[in-house]
Symmetry: D2
């Protein structure tokens, strides 16, 4: 029997929900309210949006007698679901001083109680259980995605403050140097996409074959020291290394190094301003920078299929940073979005974005997997994004 | 002997400083942190900036042994004083979640203690007193100006929230209908500018003569009911009534009525969404709208000189809203800015702005005076700004 | 008898119309078609717009049996008259490759013939003459204003071309050094505004008194050499010299000298790239730069009233450049715009602009006069605009 | 022996160059000078740029004693080759009234003579021939690409003119209705990319295998009548049909139908305003609109591999419009750009763009081929772009 037993699901639900609050705990209500740019949402908004998700997509259809805690909040915390009604403009999320953080906390508790009630009912109702479990699983995966965003977004927020406040006290943990070298593949068909069991997003399906050419993939991510050599070699001043849009971005924004690097050898991170660790993976790169570095290094970025076939089992050093691939975020053959409102989860974003693979220091443990397709526009730098090299054999 | 006795100045200092905190008291730390547009600053920023003003312009030069409470905060809360060092970009004031509101409160207390110490020293030191009193007087006038901005800016902030939260509970106070009619002047020379005694800003000086043509000035401000008639008569659709820039603003922003008016007869204000009182002065107009209304009404806006010569003693109904004049904010003959850093207070803004006269429901009692020159760009609507008519005789 | 005899008016009409074509004669059809920024219109557009003006405001109401040459062109060449129907968007005037230049020339001839016919009829019809003459006079003044714009706009167009093509061959004419010194006024009432006889725009009326303080006005305009000293003294790097908006413009646009100055001591002008003549009036300044220079020089800009009372009779050196005053473009007391569509000519622009007085090397001879009020926004630099100093006595 | 005999190459050169001039012949110098948006270049610029290409990439390295006709023009007509020196900003190409059209014509003649000389020399110099022929072939392909752009860009230019001038007289040619139906593929490996002989761009290589799922491809393009049904069914108002970026574009730009469609059933095209032919392929769609239509039709867009494997031999009806595919413009496996400056031709644009396949009514006969990869950003609509449906089997 493969379904998760209800007690386990409840424990997992409680753990995930508690983790969101734990991430926000070092932050004041002020910290959690503001929005530094349209792409980066306030912490409080993340806490509320994930709660809205459970209330709207799980409790509303499944819990008998459910009534929304505060119907006027729905448009404020609907992110992008056209099927679920109007939405507050994204760039103005940071103006929502009301509901207050304490009210959002109270809402979380109410919704958590509702989910508990639903799980109780489902224990004796197999039909309900069958409907509830996948939606709850999705809600938890969704909340984990926002846990990563809570960290990337608050990092960007704090980075705007000239006082450079640290989210976390003390120095960052040491990252052990990862083994160098390459993993080779002779070419040929490889299976791509989620094989199950367990949860996967619709964009990881259907499972199908891709056909590789002979290729080698770097065993570890490019490091700060390696990237520094690219910078020192004039990487940001040599147009020939860059894609056209990338070079335009360098000129327009005046990029001279990764986001959060300072001129004095320091970098701003979750632990505030800290010296850059030479052996740690370089981070906060755009796709353009990753591609330019690879060109400079005489290599290239791997396709997402090469990555999926060859990447080492995910280990600490690897999941310090998501890894830009050389694959645009296109649908897999015969891909269909999920039915219903959750069909808007992934499919409608399949244009203008680049696939990242792996995971990062901000990804909740156990969330990512080999078939996981993260995606961001090529100019995005505020995520924990780095790169791994590939080369043709 | 004309100087204010130190105990009185101390009491006035304490009262003004306490009033700022009282205005902010109904607001959460979240409310006080965010910034809805570049022109409207966060409440916390106002509380900190006024404190920076006393610390930098009074304590630093005058209090022996003074050291700034936290030197790293200076750039954050310097508004526009080029002579006083670098400044945090204005549009990013709302990202300053640190220092926290509680830290700003503590800073205020430290600076208040410093001012008290300075006043104690000045009691026995006439030379110190002579230097300290004008600067303290300026600091208090400055803080009162920011008290008005605290209200206008938080009103704009709360107005962005679809939940329409009210700053103040209950309905707004009734505004007694003001007497109608006109005050006439036969034309000729009138004195303009501050005559003393008492405080005045440099832009109200030097006192000089202006020469009026025969004119009549409305006894009261244009009301909501009167402005509604203008709207109902197609005022926002008739280009012939508007200045060219005003008509462009109407098209660009889609204006169909004053800021904060809703379609259902309600208006958003300090007491939240409330029915519009027909006899209350219309408010939250741009200069363009005020001028278009006057054209529609077969009248015109008064010059600032006509206003200064003819406006009734300031009474409750009048000071509900600042009154746009038909005068650009140009320097008076032989005007010179104050010496030193405070020379940046007014003079450098004398281009591209329009003079408003009177006062508003947000102006601290006793702050405005007949010679007071308020000024804003012609498109500004987030202040409490209305109009009073004039006509040639 | 004061009216102009019809033959004279016809001759003047023919001369003014021919002068427009003469200005455009050195330019190709390509040169005359493009638009380098929204404020600067194509030469062909000016030729067509002035023709539209005569057709629409003179022939249509006055010439029996008149029919517009091509009704579909009206929206293309209506500049800003809301009362006269829709208008092609100003920033897209440069896309009007049709009607072709030759078609516009043909239109000019047709309209000129119509005006001739009207003048013939008016010779024997006093009532018609009385209506036609003021409108024709206005049309000619209007065309002369556009003659100046033809030059300023084509100069800006050619300046965008890296080949730096010259409108006129050979070196520019020498400008004789003007006499230095000051003209003083003891203060008191001075008459302001047009006194007649002869043409004046509505914005120069009504004539009224202004009251001056004791003042001196520079006998000549500030020269290139004097302005160079300001630049060399760090004028563009010292915030204290600038109005706030001016300093912002310096930062935003990276201004380091007047428009069209090059780093090598050359300047681009109607004669192409030429060495800057030290004794020639400095030109292509914004109001902000003029005001900053005056501050640096320990002087100030004159008000438009001081200028009108004290400026020397207009001589060659003086009319090399319009002179920014310290007066915002506000209406004169009891000003009323002309009746009808021509009421849009001046009045609706009376906000956000600064008055310039004098004339320039591009102003048609005989067009300007002492009471003439030119006006542009304070950041405008593409006109021939300089300054004359004033100082309090 | 496979090389083209020089006489044939010369004849082909002459024919291609003459065709560019023939396309421009109906246009005035004014028409050929202006630029309606940054993406659409002036006709004259295309004529000059293609000439610069031959001069810089063929004559300069290969013709003994060659000197550029006018070195100062190089930056004006270098499009995007970083390796070949500075470039005039793209959005300002329309301000280049100089060099005049006649000067560009003369330059073309000079370069043509140089190419003739080179071909003469190459007739007796095999080594020179080997170097010259591929570069000349590239130059001709390049010029043909710009021939298509001459048409798309001038169409966009003329469309901005309210007079709606037609490039070509008379009604457009009838487009025979194409046969309906589907072409099926059972799935499996298909060869992709250029197989030779003959010219191909680097982005069509290397030839490799792709693996299809069972699929059917529409035999003909979607027609105006079919697209009208989508519009009539509320296609532009139903968010669920659209990719997220597409829906945002619909809102932002107010799209309600293809570019150049008018409300009255007419469409603007090379023959001016004409009734829309129901059976003609719909045209001037963005990728977003093509994808939304496919969703509405219960189908999808084909991948570029499906297209290459299954598209019918190119026939008249098919090549009325390029066909958006569901493939981002990513590099083929082991793709490397050409060496040298021409390496900037394709590779550096491989991000943020979508592949189109087929050809259009503006494509020069013989230019496109089955492996040809056209590409534009997903929002582009000014090209002749339509769609062909696909469906999973």
């Amino acid at each position: 029997m493969t379904r998760l037993p209800p007690p386990t699901l409840r424990a997992r639900y409680d753990a995930v929900r508690a983790h969101s609050l734990a991430l926000a705990a070092p932050l004041s209500a002020e910290d959690q309210c503001v929005q530094p740019m349209p792409d980066a949402s306030p912490t409080k908004w993340h806490l509320a949006h994930t709660t809205w998700f459970f209330e709207t997509l799980v409790l509303a259809p499944l819990l008998p007698g459910h009534r929304p805690h505060e119907p006027r909040w729905a448009p404020l915390f609907n992110s992008y679901y056209e099927a679920l009604g109007p939405r507050h403009p994204r760039p103005q999320r940071g103006l929502l001083t009301r509901p207050a953080l304490a009210e959002v906390h109270a809402w979380r508790a109410v919704v958590d109680a509702g989910v508990h009630r639903l799980l109780d009912l489902a224990q004796d109702d197999a039909a309900l259980r069958e409907r509830a479990e996948p939606l709850l699983a999705l809600g938890l995966q969704h909340e984990q995605q926002h846990q990563e965003l809570i960290l990337t977004d608050i990092l960007y927020t704090l980075a705007q403050n000239p006082l450079a406040p640290a989210l976390r006290a003390g120095p960052p943990p040491d990252v052990a140097a990862a083994p160098e070298g390459w993993v080779a593949h002779p070419g040929g068909a490889v299976p791509i996409g989620h094989a199950g069991p367990g949860f996967a997003f619709d964009n990881e399906t259907p499972r199908h074959e891709a056909h590789l050419q002979p290729v080698a993939l770097g065993r570890r991510l490019v490091t700060n020291a390696e990237y520094q050599a690219f910078v020192d070699d004039g990487g940001y001043r040599r147009a020939a290394l860059w894609l056209s849009d990338g070079w335009a971005a360098v000129q327009q924004h005046g990029w001279t190094g990764p986001l959060h690097w300072r001129d004095d050898g320091m970098a701003f991170g979750l632990h505030g301003l800290q010296p850059r660790a030479p052996q740690a993976p370089v981070c906060h790169l755009s796709f353009y920078e990753a591609a330019a570095y690879a060109e400079w290094a005489g290599a290239r970025l791997p396709t997402e299929f090469e990555w999926e076939a060859l990447a080492p089992e995910l280990a600490q050093a690897d999941d310090q940073a998501w890894q830009w691939t050389r694959s645009s975020y296109d649908p897999y053959p015969r891909y269909r979005p999920w039915a219903g409102a959750v069909g808007e989860y992934n499919g409608k974003f399949m244009v203008g974005q680049i696939v990242l693979r792996g995971g990062s220091c901000a990804t909740p443990p156990g969330h990512a997997r080999r078939s996981y397709r993260n995606f961001f526009p090529p100019a995005a730098r505020w995520q924990f994004s780095g790169l791994r090299l590939a080369k043709d054999l």
